[in-house]
């Protein structure tokens, strides 16, 4: 039996086990929408802006390890999706974006709502397809899902001209797929893994640096086993948070621009570094030369060879899937019994504990003004550290990363690589759809939330009961902080004037709004919002917070990890190993 291209699209999605499609209709995809109307394999979620469709699908992937799907019409629908696609690309998130296109005979004629989507999205996708023949449609979907989810994951765009959705052919979904030019590695080279084990055995100051690859590669358990087996200190990048439990004694906090004192100094002064699915980003190591000025041996485990030796030269590159490679490394260490020197390791821990003592995340909550850190800490307590937390971009994002101690992978969902304001609310929607029984909180700022505020309407329509934690400082806080540090307090265009009344706004969309101005009201408000009574309601919590709070520690651009700007109670503190009598000479 022959069926239309549009119907084939829905059947392919069914074959891939898709539960939700986030989308917005328009002329070029009306055939597909008609086919959607006639099926009940999956649910369609009508967003209010295409950018939100892509973010929601992206967060659906991030929070579940399934694949999010977004459906956009041609032209403006497709271009509205671009920011979402770039966001997913930068963080290596598997995603399928289906865009409509004008009919094949019209392509290239500047037809109504024509845009070269394959061209526009090329630099920000893992791969993309323009399907010109209905007979290629099913095989293209099979390939697209395969490419998006294997190797280093990423978004894949399938651009489908309208006539292709009308044409008919028989449907036969390929069982398997093989692409001769695409064979991502899985197993790491045994010889290299052996070398890594030997380096660890010889280490005096070993350190594990875990990134987003361990989260998207589902290697939380393996990483934890490695860290516990050898009892090594471990840090996570912003994208890796949750890979090792944030309350684990081996965890020294996030590292990087806003990393903890102990994590950044351990990164600088370790002698053997195991990098696991992390890419030595500039917001992590700042300047490579400064980072390497303290000699260290580096093992780098990454599935993408181009991530290795891109910013720093490494001693033992291991190309492979993090779950497989770290698993093999753990097994080898168990068999061989190789362990770092006990005495040296104890000294290293002593050092790290000294660095921990001053507590670089210390802040004081007075009785007058709500500190943003306090809200995040209370949120953690009220949700037992178990909520899925999404965020936008700015100071609130950093406070969320620092003060919500993530317990497991996929619990923390944010835009790290692109830093997309407007991500938080649609991401919370996607995460809630993927985890209907989880508590989902969106930590945001009064500026970011307004970049996709229209999604409050989507939340109403689909009864998405996320809790919005707005850290309202009336500033583009992160911008203001930089202007305070680097531009002589000239707050150029970083004050948010004429803010809406968020409580009324939430109510206008049919939700519950709360405004919280006193520190003593923070916890009660959170308890109420997360109470059984409001479990099915979206609650918008507008916390009026300290306007002048800054994020510390901070590594300024161009500075080293041992040149942090420290919080007030630590100003002027040395950023070197505390005792010189220990052996901090070169291992190499």
């Amino acid at each position: 039996m022959e069926i239309s291209g549009a119907e084939i699209v829905t059947r392919c999605l069914k074959e891939e086990g898709v539960e939700f499609v986030f989308g917005y209709p328009g002329g070029a995809v009306l055939e597909i929408y008609d086919a959607i109307h006639k099926q009940d394999f999956f649910k369609h979620v009508l967003v209010r802006h295409e950018q939100a469709a892509v973010h929601a699908a992206d967060a659906y992937s991030r929070s579940s390890n399934k694949v999010g799907v977004a459906l956009l019409t041609s032209g403006p629908g497709a271009t509205n999706g671009i920011t979402g696609i770039a966001t997913a690309y930068m963080d290596s998130i598997p995603l399928i974006v289906i865009s409509g296109q004008v009919g094949t005979p019209m392509i290239g004629s500047d037809a109504f709502q024509e845009v070269d989507m394959v061209g526009c999205s090329r630099p920000i996708v893992k791969h993309n397809f323009l399907v010109k023949d209905v007979r290629d449609l099913a095989a293209t979907f099979k390939k697209a899902f395969h490419i998006a989810t294997t190797g280093r994951p990423g978004p894949v765009v399938i651009d489908i001209p309208k006539d292709v959705t009308i044409h008919k052919t028989s449907f036969d979904y390929p069982k398997s797929v093989s692409i001769r030019s695409y064979n991502p590695p899985v197993k790491g080279h045994p010889g290299q893994i052996k070398k890594a084990a030997q380096l660890l055995a010889d280490a005096k100051r070993p350190f594990v640096y875990v990134g987003g690859g361990a989260v998207i590669g589902n290697a939380g358990a393996e990483v934890t086993e490695l860290v516990k087996l050898l009892n090594i200190p471990c840090t996570n990048t912003l994208m890796g948070l949750g890979a090792l439990d944030g309350t684990d004694p081996n965890f020294v906090g996030m590292l990087g621009m806003h990393g903890t004192y102990e994590a950044n100094l351990a990164m600088q002064y370790c002698d053997v570094l195991i990098a696991v699915g992390a890419r030595f980003d500039d917001r992590v190591i700042s300047v490579p030369n400064q980072f390497l000025s303290q000699a260290k041996k580096i093992v780098h485990i990454d599935i993408d060879p181009s991530s290795i030796a891109k910013r720093v030269k490494v001693d033992v590159p291991i190309v492979g899937d993090v779950k497989s490679v770290v698993g093999d490394l753990v097994n080898l260490l168990k068999e061989s019994g190789q362990r770092p020197n006990e005495k040296a390791l104890a000294g290293w821990w002593e050092q790290i504990n000294e660095w921990r003592k001053p507590n670089s995340l210390l802040y004081t909550q007075d009785t007058e003004i709500i500190k943003p850190q306090y809200v995040v800490q209370k949120l953690w307590e009220v949700t037992d550290g178990q909520a899925i937390v999404t965020s936008d971009v700015g100071q609130h994002q950093m406070f969320a990363a620092q003060y919500y101690k993530f317990r497991r992978p996929r619990q923390w969902i944010n835009s790290g690589g692109l830093g997309t304001m407007g991500f938080g609310l649609p991401a919370a929607m996607g995460a809630q759809m993927a985890n209907p029984y989880a508590q989902v909180a969106c930590i945001t700022g009064e500026a970011s939330i307004q970049m996709n505020i229209q999604e409050l309407s989507t939340c109403k329509q689909y009864h998405i009961p996320v809790k919005i934690v707005n850290l309202n400082n009336r500033y583009l806080g992160m911008v203001r902080q930089w202007q305070e540090f680097f531009y002589g307090n000239r707050y150029s265009e970083s004050y948010m004037d004429a803010l809406p009344d968020f409580v009324k706004l939430a109510e206008a969309y049919g939700h519950i709004g709360m405004k919280i101005e006193k520190p003593s009201d923070v916890e009660p408000a959170l308890r109420e919002a997360f109470s059984e009574k409001l479990k099915d309601r979206l609650v918008f919590l507008d916390f009026i917070t300290d306007q002048k709070a800054n994020v510390f520690p901070m590594v300024q651009n161009g500075k080293g990890l041992n040149q942090m700007d420290l919080p007030e109670h630590m100003r002027g503190m040395q950023q070197v190993p505390f005792e010189n009598n220990r052996d901090y000479g070169n291992l190499c």
């Binding site: 061209g119 630099p123 030019s181 695409y182 181009s306 030796a309």
Partner: protein
């Protein structure tokens, strides 16, 4: 340093633009690029001449390998190889210039492939430097038009790029 990269790539619409897009997006240089299908019509062979530090060349190769349609990439500079380029050059050839031009083409083992009363078109193959030398040897005023293909390269002996 100058490098010649040989790339086997699926002969698919858009594949070429992925390669050139990669170079421009990441700020790499393309000195020349040639491409044609191979004996297997589903596969194209591309030669890209580029330059950059060893680190950059390493990144270029890795990034090229990451493109889904790229089957294989080799850096010809890593071993013995041969490179050739084709040039068609149209020169003014009137009066006593005609003999002179003919002699020059002979010296460089060029072939005159089109003749009019006023001009010759010379076909010349060789490494890029040889073509440069030919151009240099001519009086610039006599050159009417030049077309060069850019280098094509192949490994010497048993070194073969194939799937």
């Amino acid at each position: 340093m100058r490098h010649i990269l040989s790339i086997l790539i699926e002969n698919e619409a858009g594949a070429l633009s992925r390669v050139t897009g990669l170079f421009s997006a990441r700020g790499y240089n393309i000195d020349s690029l040639t491409v044609q299908t191979t004996e297997d019509p589903t596969m194209s062979r591309m030669t890209i001449v580029t330059h950059g530090s060893d680190d950059i060349i390493e990144q270029i190769t890795k990034q090229l390998n990451k493109l889904v349609e790229v089957v294989k990439v080799i850096d010809l500079n890593e071993a013995d190889h041969i490179e050739r380029e084709l040039m068609l050059i149209k020169v003014r050839a009137t009066g006593k210039e005609r003999d002179e031009m003919k002699r020059m083409a002979d010296i460089f083992r060029g072939r005159i492939i089109d003749v009019t009363e006023k001009s010759y078109t010379v076909e010349l193959t060789g490494p890029g430097e040889k073509l440069d030398a030919f151009i240099k040897a001519l009086d610039p005023a006599t050159i009417l038009e030049t077309v060069r293909t850019g280098a094509s390269g192949i490994g010497r002996g048993e070194r073969i790029l194939k799937i």
